[in-house]
C-alpha cells in the first residue's frame, strides 16, 4: 500500500517531519516498551535505517474489533507512525485493492519478502466446515498455512487468534482453534485481549523492527512487558481488597466509595494485561475505573469460565459451597481469594485450552 523502497528516515524527511519529532517519537516508544529512556537513540537508529518489513494481516473468524482498536488513534500518532515503519501489504478491511488484485498484492509481497515478512492474524480458524469462513474461495486454514509458510513470525492480535476467543467458546459450532494449533514451526507471539490495547499491538511490532527479534514471552506466548503482571496487582482499588472492603452490588455504598469489585466478579487477580497501567480511550480509564469488574478477556477461555459476575473463588474447584464460604469468611477473605485466584491461574496455565469451565462442572454434578 505504501512504497517500500525508502527507509523511515527518508520518508520522514520527505514529509517534512523534523528530526526532533522523530526523537520524541522514539523516546515515547521506549517508554511503551518499558525500556530505559537511554534506548531511544537505538530505536531511532533501527527505525531510520531499516527497510520497512512487509506485514500481511489475515482476518479470519473475528469482529474486526482488533483492527478497529489498532487504528483508533489520532493522526499522526505513535500508532500511525508505526504504520509508517511497516509496509502493510495486505489487510482486507483497509486495503484499497479488492478481488483478484488484492490477492495478487499478497502473493507479490510474499514472493518478494520470502522468509522475512510478518503475518498478523486476527480471528480464530474454523476446522469444521471450511465454508464457515473463506476468503477468495480459500478456507481460513488453507490461507493460514500457505501464508505462514514463508513468514519470519506470526503475531496473533486478539484473543480469538491467540486462544480461540469467542468463536472457540462452547459449543464452538465452527470447530474454531487458535493459530498455535495449526502453525507449529514458526515463532508465534500472542497479543490477546478483546480487543488488545492499541499501544500493545504497535509496540510488539516496534520491538521487532528495533531489535530484529520478538519480545520475551510468557508461558502463554504473550510479551512479558505487557502481560507480566496481573490487573489486580496494578489496580488502584487493590488497597481496598487488602483490607477486605468489597462492593456487594453495583449501587451500594461500597461501589460508590470505589471499593474492590472482587465480589462482583472482577477477574483482575487471574488476568494478565496492562489495562491498569496503559488504560483505554487515549489513557482515560479502564473497565475497573469505570466501575465494572475485569472480564479477563486476555486469558484463554475467558468466555467459558462461569459468570462474569461470580467471584473468582466460586469459579474454581474450590467453588463448592462450604469451602468457598469458609474461604470468604471474615478477615481472611483477601488471602483466600488470592489463593483461589492463583489456583485458577495455575489450572489455566497447566492446560490453557482444557480448563473446564465451572458452569459445566456444576452441570455434570447435577446430571
Amino acid at each position: 500500500m505504501i512504497r517500500r523502497q525508502q527507509t523511515l528516515g527518508e520518508r520522514l524527511e520527505e514529509r517534512g517531519i523534523s528530526r526532533r519529532s522523530f526523537l520524541k517519537f522514539c523516546t515515547t516508544t521506549a517508554s511503551l516498551l518499558a525500556l530505559p529512556p537511554a534506548f531511544a537513540p537505538r530505536i531511532a537508529e533501527a527505525l531510520e535505517s531499516q527497510r520497512r518489513p512487509s506485514v500481511i494481516w489475515l482476518s479470519f473468524q473475528e469482529c474486526t474489533g482488533c483492527s478497529e482498536s489498532i487504528l483508533r488513534a489520532g493522526s499522526p500518532s505513535i500508532e500511525s507512525l508505526i504504520f509508517e515503519a511497516i509496509s502493510l501489504d495486505y489487510h482486507e478491511t483497509l486495503q484499497a485493492a479488492a478481488g483478484h488484485q488484492a490477492e495478487a498484492a499478497r502473493e507479490q509481497a510474499m514472493a518478494e519478502n520470502m522468509g522475512k515478512y510478518l503475518v498478523v492474524v486476527d480471528g480464530s480458524v474454523p476446522l469444521g466446515n471450511p465454508g464457515f469462513s473463506t476468503v477468495a474461495g480459500q478456507s481460513n486454514v488453507e490461507t493460514l498455512k500457505r501464508v505462514a509458510k514463508g513468514a519470519a513470525a506470526v503475531i496473533c492480535m486478539g484473543t480469538c487468534s491467540a486462544f480461540g476467543g469467542i468463536p472457540y467458546a462452547k459449543p464452538n459450532p465452527t470447530g474454531a482453534v487458535p493459530v498455535s494449533e495449526i502453525i507449529t514451526d514458526k515463532p508465534i507471539v500472542n497479543v490477546p485481549g478483546c480487543p488488545p490495547i492499541p499501544a500493545v499491538m504497535t509496540s510488539v511490532i516496534a520491538h521487532y523492527i528495533t531489535f530484529g527479534s520478538l519480545p520475551e514471552l510468557d508461558d502463554l506466548g504473550r510479551p512479558k512487558v505487557f502481560y507480566g503482571q496481573n490487573i489486580h496487582d496494578r489496580c488502584y482499588r487493590r488497597p481496598f481488597y487488602e483490607r477486605g472492603q468489597f462492593a456487594q452490588s453495583f449501587d451500594d455504598e461500597g461501589a460508590k466509595a470505589g471499593w474492590c469489585l472482587y465480589k462482583l466478579g472482577c477477574k483482575g487477580p487471574t488476568t494478565y494485561n496492562a489495562c491498569a497501567v496503559l488504560k483505554w480511550n487515549e489513557g482515560t480509564s479502564f473497565p475497573i475505573e469505570a466501575g465494572h469488574g475485569c472480564l479477563g478477556c486476555s486469558e484463554p477461555n475467558f468466555w467459558d469460565k462461569g459468570s462474569f459476575y461470580a467471584p473468582l473463588s466460586t469459579a474454581t474447584e474450590l467453588g463448592s459451597g462450604t469451602v468457598a464460604a469458609g474461604v470468604l469468611a471474615g478477615a481472611v477473605l483477601g488471602a483466600g481469594a488470592g489463593y483461589a485466584g492463583r489456583k485458577m491461574q495455575e489450572k489455566g496455565k497447566a492446560g490453557p485450552f482444557e480448563a473446564p469451565p465451572v458452569a459445566d462442572a456444576g452441570q455434570k454434578e447435577n446430571s
Binding site: 526523537l23 520524541k24 517508554s31 529512556p37 537511554a38 489520532g74 499522526p76 488502584y236 488497597p239 483490607r243
Partner: protein, 140 residues
C-alpha cells in the same frame, strides 16, 4: 472523636511511597552530573504513582528559570526545575494526549537542541530560498 476509617484508608490508598524514592534518584543523578557530567533520564510513566504524588513531586522540584514549548508533532514542554540541571519534560501528541513524562538530569535536554539532520536540511532549504529570491530579483 473516632477517625473516619474509610477516609483513613482512602488516604493511605492515595500513596505508593514512590515520590520520595524518585527524589532520591534525582538527587544521586544530580550529584553524578555535577561530579562527572554523566546525564540521566527518569521515565515517570514507568513508576506507579498517584496523581497526588505526582503533583507533590513536581511541586517539590519547583520552577527554575527556563520554560520552553516545542511544537513537534504535538506539544512538548521542557521546564527547568528549581534545581539547575534537573528538567521536567512532557511530550503530548497532536490530540494533546500525554505520551510521556520524564525528569532529565542534564545541562540541556536533547529535545531542545536543534538536531544535526534538521540543521543540514535547513541549510539546504535556506540556500534554495536565496536562489529563488535572486531569481525573482533578476526577473524584475
Amino acid at each position: 472523636m473516632r477517625p473516619d476509617l474509610n477516609e483513613v484508608l482512602r488516604r493511605r490508598a492515595a500513596g505508593t511511597g514512590n515520590m520520595v524514592l524518585v527524589l532520591h534518584e534525582v538527587s544521586h543523578a544530580l550529584d553524578r552530573l555535577a561530579r562527572t557530567g554523566e546525564t540521566h533520564v527518569i521515565d515517570l510513566s514507568s513508576l506507579p504513582m498517584t496523581p497526588v504524588e505526582l503533583q507533590q513531586l513536581i511541586a517539590s522540584l519547583g520552577e527554575g528559570e527556563v520554560r520552553a514549548v516545542i511544537e513537534a508533532e504535538g506539544r512538548s514542554e521542557v521546564t527547568e526545575t528549581g534545581f539547575s540541571g534537573v528538567w521536567l519534560v512532557t511530550h503530548r501528541d497532536t490530540d494533546d494526549m500525554l505520551r510521556g513524562r520524564y525528569i532529565e538530569i542534564t545541562p540541556l535536554p536533547e529535545i531542545l537542541r536543534s538536531q544535526d539532520a534538521d540543521i543540514r536540511a535547513a541549510a539546504a532549504r535556506l540556500a534554495r530560498k536565496l536562489d529563488q529570491i535572486s531569481d525573482l530579483e533578476e526577473a524584475s
